[in-house]
């Protein structure tokens, strides 16, 4: 769909992914520089912009991490260009440092930071609510209620940012960025500015005097915004005469709230305030609602952010009205129409339209009969082969540490985190990007065991280098494995510094992790193809026996990418099969490896010819040579 994104056809309707809509909104808002590091649920924003960057005459990059991305966009804004950086919620932790000071700087060219939060942690390590980080930074937050508004708000955010000379945050969530809907396009501006850097240390050079000078200015900008938000179209108050109940719903929650009200037949019976600017919230509209009803329900996802502000307003104004929020809308789990219905039904004293309890019961009854189907590594995934070799070598070497010593596998964030599943179970920790090596550093000084942090190529460039330097400097005896599949696979195959290609598709210098590791002072660095099982075990064994920090790069292109390339070249894919006469049913292929293409039915082992990509790793592992190519 990305080719449609640049369509200069105001009024036309397109079916877009929320993240595509945000990208389109940025283009309509005149973005000229966009930077990001991939992370679900934000990645498609920059992917979409990158795919049209050259045609649109804008600059787009995948930065090595979110901190750099924010700095790249900030610099463009300082030079008068409209700029955006987008990241998943935890990415803002990485970018937290410049984010806070960006609040002091404000914006010259419109500057928008997109935070894609992930309630229920569908693909994340936590569920942090970044409205709090924005609050701490005096940065206003816009929260769209649907895909259309995601586009409209993004475009508007650039104008508002310039109008108020301040940074704006667009807060998306998984069910916005990965929602789909029909979107009516707006006009695309033609203006392209030239960047100008004007020296002004009292604005841009943050020594104490600069911070002291700019903090009051930041607060003034924020106060101006606070006075303006009541009139912005993203906030909408619908007062119903004589209504007893008022509902305040922010961002996406408004969609659930309005649907709940309709489903319960309460339309025209309750007053509603849609809040699109959750920070600062529209105080005058809130006051109007609070003074017109007897009871208020705040519907929002994750933390009680709006709720606390509404309660503060009520307290300050002395408005005596009962305010509900997280007492009725669960703080745990993703919000849904059902949860909104249940909360509203209780306050309105009407029965829910559906017996949800009965539906739960039906689900609970069948649950024990369902197969466990967590996400797993793909058929032919080189990571599975890598972990097999790592595990075999590590268990062998662990014996020399003493009886019963188990190797420790500090893990990281990427497809390879899926090795948490049986039978590999080689992810003992997973905390944050680059955390594998950091945690390994600490372990090395307190436990006596082989310590094997494993992380991907993109993650290594993102946050793996400082802790690797730390290991060399502080003499941590660890064996770092860089699982190099030559792409950022988990988030949708984005290029990174190790791929030799930029976001805009231009060739660039390819940085090899092994060169970086040597540059960091690591004295044992080897590269091996994990599809060569014997060699991979040998390299791992030697790395683990090395006195001092060691690095092994397991390099093999992501199986999905490899498959795609083979199909493009018209190459035939020859799957493997089990020779039933040779198979001794030893179970090694399942209990040690468990490629999803290997299926055990009763005590018969077969390989699914549709999903097998013919990597041949299982054939190397089979002790009886019973797995062979299914030629012809």
């Amino acid at each position: 769909m990305t080719s449609h994104i640049l369509k200069d056809a105001p009024g036309e309707r397109l079916f877009l992914l929320g993240n595509e809509a945000i990208a389109r909104g940025a283009l309509e808002g005149g973005v000229q520089v966009a930077a990001a590091y991939p992370g679900t649920p934000s990645s498609e924003i920059l992917m979409t912009l990158a795919s049209v960057a050259k045609d649109a005459g804008i600059y787009v990059e995948w930065s090595t991490n979110e901190k750099v991305a924010l700095e790249v966009a900030l610099a463009a804004s300082i030079c008068g260009l409209r700029a955006m950086c987008s990241m998943k919620h935890v990415g803002l932790n990485v970018a937290h440092d410049p984010f806070i000071t960006a609040g002091y700087i404000g914006a010259k060219g419109g500057f928008v930071v997109v935070s894609a939060d992930d309630p229920w942690a569908w693909s994340s390590q936590n569920e942090q609510d970044n409205r709090w980080i924005a609050k701490q930074a005096y940065i206003p937050v816009l929260e769209p209620s649907d895909v259309q508004e995601a586009k409209d708000m993004t475009a508007a955010a650039f104008n508002l940012s310039e109008q108020f000379n301040h940074v704006f945050m667009l807060r998306s969530v998984t069910r916005i960025g990965h929602a789909r809907g029909d979107v009516t396009l707006g006009p695309l501006p033609k203006e392209r500015r030239k960047g100008v850097f004007k020296k002004d240390p009292s604005w841009l050079t943050y020594v104490p005097a600069t911070a002291r000078k700019n903090r009051p200015l930041m607060i003034q900008r924020f106060e101006r915004i606070k006075k303006a938000v009541d009139d912005w179209p993203f906030n909408k108050l619908e007062l119903v005469d004589g209504a007893r109940l008022g509902i305040i719903a922010s961002g996406l929650s408004y969609s659930y709230a309005i649907e709940a009200v309709k489903w319960l037949g309460l339309e025209g019976k309750v007053s509603m305030l849609k809040v699109g600017t959750t920070h600062p919230i529209p105080e005058e509209l809130v006051k109007k609602l609070l003074t017109s009803v007897e009871e208020v329900l705040v519907i929002e996802e994750l933390e009680p952010f709006v709720e606390l502000h509404v309660k503060a307003i009520a307290g300050e104004e002395g408005i005596r009205v009962k305010i509900h929020g997280k007492d009725l809308v669960p703080v745990i789990g993703e919000l849904s129409t059902r949860k909104a219905v249940e909360a509203v039904a209780r306050l309105a004293g009407v029965p829910p339209p559906v017996d949800f309890g009965k539906l739960d019961k039906v689900s609970e009854e069948v649950a024990p009969t369902l197969p466990f189907r967590p996400p797993i590594m793909c058929p032919g995934c080189p990571h599975r082969a890598s972990f097999y070799a790592i595990k075999v070598a590590a268990q062998r070497v662990a014996k020399s540490y003493g009886e019963g010593v188990e190797p420790i596998y500090p893990g990281d964030i990427g497809c390879y985190t899926l090795a948490i599943q049986p039978p590999l179970e080689t992810v003992d920790t997973c905390i944050c990007m680059g955390g594998s090596i950091g945690i390994a550093n600490g372990l090395a000084h307190v436990v006596n065991a082989p310590i094997i942090p494993c992380l991907g190529d993109s993650t290594f460039f993102h946050a793996g280098i400082p802790p690797l330097i730390n290991a060399v400097y502080n003499k941590a005896k660890i064996t770092v494995v860089i699982l190099d599949n030559m792409t950022t696979a988990m988030t949708g195959f984005q290029p990174h510094p190790g791929t030799g290609v930029t976001a805009m598709g231009d060739p660039t210098k390819r940085l090899l992790p092994e060169d970086v590791a040597r540059g960091c002072g690591v004295e044992f660095v080897e590269v091996v193809d994990p599809y060569d099982v014997k060699k991979a075990i040998d390299v791992m064994t030697r790395a683990l026996r090395f006195e001092g920090p060691s690095v092994v790069v397991m390099r093999r292109l992501c199986a999905l990418e490899a498959l795609r390339e083979k199909r493009r070249r018209g190459e035939k894919i020859i799957p493997y099969k089990v020779d039933q006469e040779k198979c001794k049913k030893c179970d090694v292929c399942v209990k040690m490896f468990a490629c999803p293409s290997i299926v055990k039915t009763g005590d018969t082992y077969t390989i699914d010819p549709i999903t097998c990509i013919g990597c041949g790793v299982c054939a190397q592992i089979c002790p009886y040579k019973a797995i062979v190519p299914a030629e012809g």
């Binding site: 029909d182 969609s255 559906v354 039906v362 797993i376 899926l418 049986p422 949708g492």
Partner: protein, 206 residues
């Protein structure tokens, strides 16, 4: 077309089966026919052989991105146990188009869980809904030229029930917009095979 107030479609399957592509085709077609459309999916973790569920909703009264529980008008399940996993969306009137070929996850080979009997799955679905259409999409997709087109067989099957307010031509146009190259023809053929299969199955009942 604007007379449709709310039509809720739940699409489910296993990562890699093309569940999301199915909802994209439906969404593009619905926009062609002038509907307001809402939907959502969970990308990322769910892609890799995991359980996938996506939602596609159309009509003037839809707002949220997810189909509420107990409110599905249609369920397309590419895989039988994934239909079973999502019973909470069904009502007596939900049209359930269910693929009958199981995808057995490694957890079953490892002895960590069991795979249900497919006949039992169908029985349970028929207990909850009056309109269950079982179909082997892989058989028909292979006939069309590529097993990968199983998702388009399912879409054709749904259209064949005659209960979808989206025009068949619009669905076909959406297939042409969503895919590129050789697979377009295969997908269109797969769509027709699914469509005709269900038409005939329904005719033989009456």
């Amino acid at each position: 077309m604007s007379e449709v107030k709310e039509l809720n479609i739940v699409l489910t399957g296993v990562g890699g089966q093309g569940t999301i592509a199915m909802s994209e085709v439906l969404g593009i077609a619905a926009v062609i026919d002038g509907f307001k459309v809402r939907g959502s999916e969970v990308l990322g973790m769910a892609q890799r052989g995991g359980a996938v569920i996506t939602f596609l909703r159309l009509g003037k009264d839809v707002y949220g991105p997810m189909v509420p529980e107990g409110k599905a008008d249609v369920m397309i399940a590419l895989e039988p146990s994934e239909a079973l996993r999502n019973l909470r969306f069904l009502t007596k009137n939900t049209i359930v188009v269910v693929g009958t070929r199981p995808i057995v996850p490694p957890s079953v080979s490892l002895g960590l869980s069991k795979y249900p009997n497919v006949d039992d799955v169908l029985k349970k679905l028929k207990e909850l809904s009056d309109f269950v259409v079982p179909i082997d999409p892989y058989k028909l997709a292979s006939e069309a030229g590529d097993a990968i087109a199983a998702n388009m067989v399912m879409l054709g099957a749904l259209a064949g029930t005659g209960k979808l307010p989206i025009k068949v031509e619009s669905l076909k146009q959406a297939i042409k917009e969503r895919f590129k190259g050789k697979i377009v023809e295969v997908n269109l053929k797969a769509f027709d095979l699914g469509y005709n299969y269900v038409k005939q199955a329904l005719a033989s009942i009456k």
